[in-house]
């Protein structure tokens, strides 16, 4: 059976209070800032577990994995300059709309966009 540990709780909390994507290392950083002394292995373990339970979701970009509180399907924008990964909401990202557009029943999707984010675009 599964045990609800304080570590798991804290990690879930951090992912849930963040709108965008976090790497495992970033989660560990935040934990340290909060004076929670949790081993990096436990962070990796619990993020993986939470994905398995469908509470959060995971994407791969370049050489790392990133996590977000939005389970399942996501659209995200990765800035080529600052490296931030922003979750975005786009109207086309609708299950029914997509199924019609594609002509097959879509259960899950993942859209990755790369470019220059608003902030980086402003300060050329």
């Amino acid at each position: 059976m599964q045990r609800w540990t304080s570590q798991l709780s804290l990690i879930l909390e951090i992912v849930y209070e963040t709108e965008h994507f976090l790497s495992a290392e970033r989660v560990h950083q935040i934990l340290t800032q909060k004076n929670a002394n949790i081993g990096i292995a436990t962070v990796y373990r619990n993020l993986k577990k939470l994905v398995g339970q469908g509470l959060i979701s995971e994407i791969s970009w370049k050489d790392m994995k990133y996590y977000t509180r939005h389970p399942f399907s996501n659209a995200f924008f990765a800035c080529e300059k600052c490296g931030n990964i922003l979750r975005i909401d786009i109207p086309i990202a609708d299950q029914t709309y997509l199924s019609n557009e594609i002509g097959m029943s879509v259960n899950k999707w993942n859209m990755r966009f790369e470019g220059i984010c608003e902030e980086c675009g402003r300060c050329t």
Copy 2:
């Protein structure tokens, strides 16, 4: 300046004659089958170079990178039943349209859909 080597040529050829995604290791395997004795480091190096030149494109899936002859941006549909990965063309996948929709300049995108394909849907 850049040099057109026999190794680069062979690697590009292999990616171009394959419709699906290939890992670096798979490319190396195929090279070996063709009796081309090319070091694995060269395979990685040249795949990366070809991506940089926009001749092929790269995705990250789980813990590995995969390469396809379709440059830059791709839409794929993975059938959960038969496991086939179909490359699809969808009208929403237009650079300008997407940039407007998202509000940031999109240079590159990648869409992965998962569900039941037409054929599998027909013969429930």
